[in-house]
Every structure is written in C-alpha cells, then in structure tokens.
Symmetry: C2
Subunit: 434 residues, 2 copies
C-alpha cells in the first residue's frame, strides 16, 4: 500500500492506475465473445450447450437446463438455517428501501384541452446473471432480483453456470426463490448472455440483462447492448475512506480490507488529513492481515491498487474523492454529514463510524450493485428505475392544436420537412380554403 502526498500529479497517476482495471482495456477478448454470441444466435440451444460443456465441463440438455422444483426443495434442505434466516431479514430491508424508489405515471392538463405526461411501466422480462465458481453470493441474488420484483417485472429469469456435475449452489437457489425469481437456467458465461439477448429453444429472450460476471460476461453484455437493455458494466470493487484525526484507525483498516478481499483488482484508498491516522491504519492493516483468510488476495490488491493519500486540508481531500468517484465512500470525520453535502461522485456514501461498508453490502437496504471505476460520475446504483421504462403521452384538442398550428408548420418548413408540415396543415385545410 503506497502512502503519497496528495497533489495533481499523484491523483492523475492514481486515476490512470485504476483505469487499467476497466473492461474497456480488455479488447483481446472481444473477438472470442463476438464469436460466442454469433454462434448462440444462429445455432441456439445446440451452441449454448456445447459452450457449457466446453467452459463449465457440464453436460446440460434441454431436459436438464431448467432448475426443477425438486432441486429447489433439496436446496432448502441443504442450506444452513442461519443463512436462510439472514436472507429473509435482509430481504425485508432491501424491498422496503426499493419500494421508496417507485414512481407513478403522471400527467398535467390545461384548460385549453391539452394533456401531457409520462406512462411509467415495468419491463416485461428481465434476465439476472449470477456468477458461479468458487465464490457464491446469495446477497448478490437479492440485490439484482428485488428491484426488478419491486418494479413489477412480470417474469424474472436467472442464469448461472453449473458445476461439473450439473448442480447449483443451494444458497444461490434459496436466495433466488426467496427473492421471487420465476425460472432458473443452468448456463453461464458469454453464452448465457447471448441466449438471454436473442432467445433459444430453451431460454426466452428478455428485455434487459443485469448482474455481475467475469470479463467474458461483461464484454458480452456490452456487445448485446441495444438489442436488449443492460445495467452498467461492473468492474472490480472499490472503497474510499475519507478520514480525519477523529477516526478510529482500527475501523479504517478493517473497512479498507473488507473491499480489498473481493478481488486482486479491487482497490482500497484512504484519503486523510492526519499523518498519524495514516500510520496507525497501516499498522492495523498489518495486524489484521495475520488472521484474515483471504490474505493473498488482499495483499495483491493492496500492492497494486491500495493507496493512502495525505491531504493538507479536508477540502483538498474531498476534491480528490470526487475526482476518483469511488464505488463505496466512507466518511469517518468529525462532521460526516457536512462532508456528505460536498460529495458529488460516489456509488454509495456511508456516513460516520457505525455505517461501515458491509452494512450496505448485506443489510441496510440500498443496493450493493454500484457504479465502479469512476463511472459514479454518470451511472447510478441499481434500482427500480432500471426496471421501468417511460412512454411520453401527448393529447391536444382540436382547439389547442389550432392555436399553435401555424408555428409548427413554420418550424417544419424551416427544417425542410414538408410532410411534417402537411400532417398539421391537412387538419385545417377546410378552414384555410374558406
């Protein structure tokens, strides 16, 4: 973990470093992904199952691709009861927070006889991708499925890669069932994304695909964007802790490590006005590292993408934090709410020393699917807005149109779109002739 004095140069070099983790830098896989998509699009199930055998080493057929009720029942028997209990508790909080995001269709009318508004409707079919492999994250299932459910999506489909024996992790299945997934398919990778985007004999085409995945999944989602909707492209996790000399160095250290353990590409950054805190936090990190189970991952992450930035003033620290636009930002300062008002760019803002990042990952209710890699400057946390779409609604009475019809004709003629002008003019041709 590098400790450096914060200035224009260090921040520029840090931003360059972080961007090296971006899916946009992985051009070499794009052709492979394009080929997978093209094959699944043309050969459908046949290609989908062939890739599943090739990449996941599992033999799946149209008879076994869909998870059965029996498999779900077995998962409930196998899952730890304590885990089921926390899934159910977290689910209540997550649903409640997302319910508050719901919006109604709206309109405004005026007495000239006009009505303008927006009709807001849920998407009909959504695909949720859930990664397989060593790491199993039932929390991620909840966070991706529940906003869609709250939005009112009619059919929620989940895909996740099977193990070699064709089985899925029971906690993934239980979380999916609890959250309200309608159908689960045992496919993963770019081939699953292609199947969701174009449909196969076994898997229905969806309107939008969400959920995290490896680089193949991320590139496949980008490739099918436009054919279907996608959530923002997820990169490795990040935490930025903004702290002054009132912060507890043991908390700061523990929180930095909580993100570094995700991934060798994860990034943990402390920006502080206190040299003493910087030193003490670093000591605590060494202490914790002795006992943490994911030490190897954490050490690589901290070596490459871990920073302690020393700022002269809190203003300077905040400016740097806004430039980095971290996925997670913790504010451990004397007046954390005051600092929060000055934060422009962050996926989620955790205020004060009892609001640590894992609280948001699992339990508080806000979504843990957040913009990474500086994209918090223009992307938002996953939410109900991602599972609805709007249609403009326009009504004018004849009188209301008459009042402005000459203006529209004028505008259309200026743009040399005479058929546009004609569409207005034809409605008043009798009056004009008189």
């Amino acid at each position: 973990m590098k400790t450096v004095r914060l200035n224009q140069e260090t921040i520029a070099s840090l931003l360059d470093d972080l961007l090296k983790r971006s899916p946009n830098s992985y051009g070499k896989y794009e052709n492979a992904v394009a080929e997978i998509i093209s094959n699944v699009r043309s050969k459908k199930d046949e290609a989908l199952f062939a890739y599943t055998e090739k990449f996941d080493h599992a033999k799946i057929t149209d008879k076994t691709v869909q998870v059965t009720q029996q498999e779900i029942d077995e998962a409930y028997e196998r899952v730890e009861p304590a885990l089921l209990e926390v899934i159910q508790k977290a689910l209540v909080n997550i649903r409640s927070y997302h319910e508050k995001q719901k919006r109604q269709s709206w309109f405004c009318s005026d007495e000239k006889g006009t009505m303008l508004g927006q009709k807001i409707l849920p998407l009909q079919r959504v695909g949720v991708y859930v990664p397989g492999g060593k790491a199993v994250y039932p929390s991620s299932v909840l966070m991706n499925v529940l906003p869609a459910k709250v939005a009112g999506v009619e059919k929620i489909i989940m895909t996740t890669p099977p193990g070699k024996d064709g089985s899925l992790n029971p906690s993934t299945l239980v979380a999916a069932k609890e959250a309200g997934v309608d159908t689960i398919y045992k496919v993963g990778g770019a081939q699953a994304i292609a199947a969701l985007a174009y449909g196969t004999q076994s898997i229905p085409k969806v309107d939008k695909i969400v959920g995290p995945g490896n680089i193949f999944v991320a590139l496949a989602k980008k490739a099918v964007y436009g054919q279907v909707g996608i959530d923002s492209i997820a990169g490795p996790s990040e935490i930025l802790v903004l702290a002054d000399d009132t912060a507890n160095p043991r908390y700061v250290a523990a929180d930095l490590l909580s993100q570094a353990e995700h991934d060798e590409l994860a990034s943990a950054i402390l920006i502080t006005t206190s040299e003493k805190l910087a030193r003490q936090a670093k000591e605590q990190i060494s202490e914790f590292l002795k006992v943490l189970s994911r030490r190897e991952i954490i050490e690589k992450s901290l070596d490459h993408f871990g920073y302690i930035l020393l700022a002269d003033t809190m203003e300077e620290a905040i400016e740097a934090a806004n430039a980095i636009a971290s996925e997670h930002m913790e504010i451990l300062t004397e007046n954390p709410f005051e600092v929060m008002t000055k934060i422009r760019n962050a996926g989620a803002i955790f205020i004060g020393e009892s609001s640590c990042e894992p609280l948001g990952d699992y339990f508080a209710g806000p979504n843990h699917v957040l913009p990474t890699n500086g994209t918090a400057k223009f992307f938002s946390p996953l939410g109900v807005d991602d599972f609805v779409k709007k249609s403009s609604v326009i009504y004018y009475s004849r009188e209301a149109l008459h009042e402005i019809h000459r203006d529209i004709i004028q505008f259309a003629n200026c743009e040399q779109l005479t058929a546009h002008a004609n569409s207005i003019a034809v409605r008043f041709e009798k009056e004009e002739k008189q």
Copy 2:
C-alpha cells in the same frame, strides 16, 4: 406499401424486416470506428483535425475549432426571424415539460438512528452531438440540450461537423445559444465522439454523450459506452398508426408520410380494423406523394418498411402494436384514451386525431428523442433522468448497527468474506470481550 392480414407469421416477418435497420447489423464499420477512436485517444487534436479534413473536407485548427461569439452574432443576423420566434416559443414548452420530470434527493429516517436515501445530482459535463450535412434540425438541438439544462448540468458542450469552408449552419448555432449550450466545437463523426469521451487539447472530456448521428456516430457511441455514459442508440424513425373506421384517412395518410420522409430506412405502419380505411389511406398517400418535396425518400421508405396490417379486432391490433414497440404511436380510434391504457410499448403515444406526431416533434414539450427499433420495450424518451445520477446514502447510529451486527457477520461468513465480517466485528470487540 404492403397490405397484409395481421397474424403471427406476418408480424414475425415484419419484425425481422425492421431489425435489418438496426446499428447492431452494421458490424462491418466497427473496425473502422475502433481505429478512429484509438487514434483520437492517442494523438488527440492532431488525429481529430486530420479526420475532420479527411471526412468533412474542412481545415480546422486549435485556433478555429471553437465557435466564437462573433460567429454566433452573425448567425443571429442570418437566421430567419420567423424561425427564431418559433424556436423561442417551442423552447418554453419543452423546458416546462422537462421541469416536471425533476426529482429531489430524498431520505427516510427512523428513531433507531438510521437514515437511508438517495442523493440526486446533475452530471457535471455533457457533450451533445448534432449532425451536419444537408439536413439541419434546430429542433433536435433543443430536445437534446434542454433536458440537460433543466437537470442542472454545469457545462454543456456541443460538437457538429463543419461545412467545407469551416462554417456551421446559423439555425443550429442560434438554437444552441437559445437552449444554453456553453461551448460549440466544429467537429463531427466518430472522431468527435472519441474526443468527447477521452478529451483532447482542445476538447474537454465529458461525463455523457447524447444526440443522434449516422452509423459511424452510433457505433462510436456504443464503443465508448462505459468510458462515458450515452443516451440510447438511435435508429431510423418510425410511426405506427392504430386506427379504426372512425379515423380520417387523409390524416392517417399525412401522418404516415410525415415519418417516412425522414429517411429511406424510416418505417411507417398502419394497423387497422377497417379495410375501408386501409384502402382510402393508401389512396390519400398516392395523392399526397404527387406534391411532397421529399417524394423519392418517402417512396423508398414505404416500399421497404411501410406496412398496412389488417386486424380482425382492436385487441389483436393493440397486441401487434405492443410487439412492434414503435418510436411514435398515434391512436386514431373512437376511444383513444381507452386504447392508450392498453399500450405497453411505445416511445411516445399520441392520443386522438388532433395529436399528430409533428406536434410532438416540435412543440408540445415532450422530447422527440425516443427509443426506436423495438427498444421502447426497455429504453425511455430522453429526459432529465438521463442527466442526473444517484448516490445511495447510508447512516446508522452505533445502537442501530449493534442491533443487527450479528446478522451481518453471519451473512458475510456464509459468503466466506471474513474481512467483511471483521469490519463489523471490530466495532463491537470491546463489548464481546467483556
């Protein structure tokens, strides 16, 4: 224009036809676009100006790339006063409609000492692309710039390709100035998109790029998606008229033509329960074609992508309309509001015979940047939401965290993320030791 009986087969073949117009089918330009982006990214202004000379045949330098106040003054002198007047009138309506879309940051607190919410902020810098060439659309400038302005975007940058002599169309400049664009640059094509996404010596990097363009612009936007935000990928224009035997065939014909004139790839579709209306509308189209200035474009558009679909019932007609998910949908039926309640998928819905599509294009206030090519199933009209982004806000008091800390530790341990569990546990280690 083909007249066919509506059934599963005809609708499937129509949807196939329409998708041929999609930017996703233009893979052959992707490499050329990737090369342009890569060159502008590495060589910046040098590459940008070289491409401008190559594609736009205009010599632009860092001294002339930015539009001057003098050029804007001259544009005001040259623009038709009547056009300036309608621009100013339309602007009031567009701004007023988009003001109604604005949302506030929100939070909920409870007496356990928790506060959860969303901080909603405008993007800081936005790039608006405006096509050059023969067609000049000041209305498009208003529709792309005003939602950003209403959202509170700090800096709005516009790029548009110059003519051979380095000049821009005065009505584009005047519309930009009226709408509140901060800076205008004389570059276009994929090279302009690359400059906005990565920044050059002359052109600042933006957070999001919006605006229509040709296939190179569309592919470039898709390629830089993730590096910056983009609006949805625009395809050729579409109108779908849903009509029964109460509809005026002359209005129906004029409205179909109003979209067909945009582009040879534009699509005009009538779905009706009335064979008489279908026949009469077709006759009226032939009549109008004799006098309309853009006859050649219209004829090609109608030949390839124009359809009259005869439905047995209005329910069947509505189902087909929802499957097509047209950019613009007009409802010319006896009870148009009732039909509107059954429409799931459309960019904009025009209700009744005095609410024709050009009213929405220019004047009523809703945005004319709308999802095309079936993407109304998951994309929305351009609006204020496209120019803001959200951050989750999470505050828990020590007491509130204490109450649930064991649940979070349980969840984290189940996911084998022990550093997550540690971040919670460390906060209560003194209590635990006692």
